[in-house]
Amino acid sequence: MDHTTIRALARLGAAAAALAVAASMPAAAQDFPEEPITIVVNFPAGGGQDTAARLIAEYAAQRTTVPIVVTNVTGAGGATGTRHVADAEPDGYTVGIIGSNFVAQQYMNENATTVDEIIPIALFGPDPGALEVRADTGITDVAGYIEALRANPGSITNGNDAPGGGSYIVAALMERAFGIEMTKVPYQGYAPTVAGLLAGEVMSATLPVHQFADQHKAGEVIILGVAADERHFLVPDVPTFREQGFDFVAGDWRALFVPAGVPEDRVQYLEDLFFETMSDPAFVEAANAAGFVVTPMRGADTLAHILRTDEEFYPVLLDAGLVTVNQKEE
């Protein structure tokens, strides 16, 4: 037997194997994926974004034939990692994860990725905003908080992200919605904000619920309200803003995306893969245990969601003087 025959036979075998695999998979994605898929996280390992991505990778890998790897490309408040994905080869093997600060960065950083450079493939879920105060402030509900600030503008120090970050925007949206003014004290990320509130440096915080669930139960911190449509499963005793008579819904969310230019069939494959993964009850259970709310959406809905956030954030950013690039024409 000469070499050509061996090679031909090998090719035949490979083709047969591929056929067998293809038969068990959606027809559109016969040749995809063949290599490991990478999820690029734009924040350091250990944070919320990272934990969410690793959970998704773990469960999605069970539904596909290739490994799913998580890498962290960090810096510039998350813009570096997003830019890394947007500039990657549009072959569908590089997937990114973004939060609502992606929307803000478009207007604050000339190097940030804009929404037309990406194709959203799935929404993981919201990270609802909430309002927490130290127990020793004596404030027990949202109305009391707003009253205190109306009587004495700027009298409450609030711990939040730097301008453009998720919890900053929640605070700014709240100021706008209720016509109040707090003294916003910026912290680098959630953990230092938690420490700041516990140490008594600030009186309130606008972090997502899961950061304070334990302290709320222990009584040190009171979560005044959840800025979502429904109560949060970690603290079912805390009413929403709406239940207390204030129409206010705000917060962060997480979504997966690929760079613009990925072939349609591959986008479809990834959308199916991740949407189905996130709809899996076992996944939802694991994510809930880690403190995440899961409400999966498909690509088109995710894009609509991003655009809605954009409309909501833009006036706030403009008011705060944060819009330096991509200014919209009025």
Binding site: A45, G46, R83, A162
Partner: protein, 510 residues
């Protein structure tokens, strides 16, 4: 808290799977820690997915083994190659490397190992017994205290690093400048970016230290003519004699204390602990001029502090659910992935698991000691590999290591740039350590100074009104002014006694 601790310890000792995991974690952790370019945080982050498939208990035993051993591993390369494997080991090399070059590599590594063990155990003991108390104290730290703690760390470093304090301060200022590159933490305004996205992402600590210490050292070595390479004396014994070892218990205990308490302050981390304990030993020593030339105390104290920080950093994470540094942030992420949230409720709901974490850390410290004692003989063989092969290997490692930290090529170029800076600074006889620490501590300093002012409404008095902040500020001032005052006193004395000995290196160390 002790009952669950012992029962969990028994569980580890009787379960060959957990035992193997812990020992495996120690070996991997030591190696990764020793590789320049892989920090403890990164070692943990890359092994996080590996721990997925394990039960929560097994995952914690494994990750704690990696964590605690990687902290020691960083010192191995600091001592043997003058390249800190992890940023926490920068101070260890001040005395570790001169000691290794004088043929006592075995002694230096052994001292570091023993100090690590002691520090690790001390930190753990504090964690088990008085965690809530420490957590309460740490939580009384607000921005003014953080700011002053960083000032203290920076001045201690300028004071203790070789050469003049003045130049140390200036190098620290260059480090601060480098730390400001990229987005400002409080306003998101980009600074010193010169319009480049690479600089906008900021200068990461790992490429900077790898370039400044690692590649610069390689370049210096290659620049030496063959006959200029200082001959490494034949390696002597591995274990230092008892009379060297015994007096070290004091520096080790002091280092452990500093490490545990400073490590417990969220975000302050090990960087401040190591320099404070090093400066403290120098201050207390009757022969401070031996420091920087292979003083055993100069290895023992910071090394103990560095490892005591592990226990200290776990305190706020376990009791309050606030990770004290990037390493514990990854550990906390691992716990979250397994559906466990650290914090006050974990103690109440799941004391057995808390016991498992504690005993896992205990076992990790013990396994680090045993494994490395057995391996020191092999480890120090690094000193005997042909120098040029070793250096080229390290050069390649520097490149890959700085790429892998954020998976970005621009970090490689940052690393190369700082190799040049480090090389030039070597030629100019300028101390490099303050620059690295300036980069690490600068952002913490700036952020907290400004946040203090935001909260105080612009009153600078906030830094002197709070007693702890004031105490640290005064200590820093003393450290800064001490050399000036000491020189004055020395001058006076010198005139009086007309001593023939020169000011520096006068007293014989032995």
């Amino acid at each position: 808290m002790l009952d669950p601790f012992f029962s969990a310890l028994a569980a580890i000792l009787t379960d060959p799977y957990l035992l193997a995991l812990s020992v495996g974690g120690v070996v991997v952790g030591t190696v990764l820690g020793a590789l320049p370019g892989i920090s403890s945080t990164m070692a943990l982050a890359i092994l996080l997915p590996v721990s997925f498939a394990m039960s929560p208990e097994a995952a914690m035993v494994f990750l704690l083994a990696v964590f605690s051993s990687s902290v020691f591993g960083g010192s191995i390369s600091a001592i043997l190659l003058n390249i800190p494997g992890t940023p926490g080991a920068i101070v260890t090399q001040f005395d570790g490397y001169p000691m290794a070059r004088s043929g006592r590599a075995g002694h230096a590594v052994s001292i570091a190992l023993l100090a690590s063990t002691l520090g690790g155990l001390f930190g753990l003991a504090v964690l088990v017994v008085v965690a809530p108390v420490i957590a309460g104290a740490a939580m009384s730290f607000r921005s003014p205290e953080f700011a002053m703690a960083t000032v203290l760390g920076l001045t201690m470093l300028a004071y203790s690093s070789p050469g003049s304090t003045f130049r140390g301060v200036l190098m620290g200022a260059i480090g601060l400048l480098c730390g400001m590159v990229g987005f400002d933490a409080l306003t998101d305004v980009s600074r010193f970016d010169f319009g480049s996205a690479t600089l906008q992402a900021g200068i990461d600590m790992v490429p900077l230290t790898v370039g400044l210490f690692g590649l610069a050292e390689v370049m210096r070595n290659l620049g030496l003519r063959r006959e200029d390479v200082p001959e490494v004396p034949k390696m002597g014994s591995i274990m230092p004699p008892w009379r060297t070892l015994w007096p070290l218990w004091k520096p080790m205990s002091r280092g452990s204390l500093v490490g545990t308490f400073v490590g417990a302050i969220p975000a302050a981390g090990s960087a401040i602990a190591v320099v404070v304990s090093y400066a403290q030993e120098m201050r207390l020593s009757r022969t401070p001029e031996r420091f920087g030339k292979g003083a055993p105390e100069g290895i023992a104290a910071p090394e103990a502090a560095n490892n005591a920080c592990v226990g200290g950093a776990l305190v706020p994470m376990m009791t309050l659910g606030v990770p004290g540094d990037t390493m514990t942030a990854v550990l906390m992420g691992a716990l979250l992935l397994h559906g466990l949230r650290p914090g006050p409720m974990l103690f109440a709901d799941n004391p057995d698991f808390v016991g498992m974490i504690y005993s896992g850390l205990f076992f990790a410290v013990a396994a680090t000691l045993v494994c490395n004692l057995a391996l020191i003989r092999v480890i120090v063989l690094v000193m005997r590999t042909p120098r040029h092969m070793l250096m080229i290997g390290i050069a390649a490692l520097c490149v890959v290591g700085s790429f892998a930290i954020r998976n970005s090529m621009s970090d490689v170029y940052v690393m190369l740039a700082f190799a040049v800076v480090g090389y030039v600074m070597g030629l100019l006889r300028l101390p490099v350590a303050p620059l690295a620490f300036g980069l690490i501590l600068g952002p913490i300093l700036e952020e907290n100074v400004r946040r203090s002012l935001i909260v105080s409404g612009g009153e600078w008095s906030v830094f002197v009104e709070r007693p702890i902040a004031l105490a640290m500020l005064l200590l820093s001032l003393v450290a800064l002014l001490y050399p000036v005052a000491a020189a004055g006193i020395r001058g006076l004395r010198g005139r009086k006694a007309a001593a023939p000995a020169p000011a520096a290196g006068g007293q014989d160390p032995r």
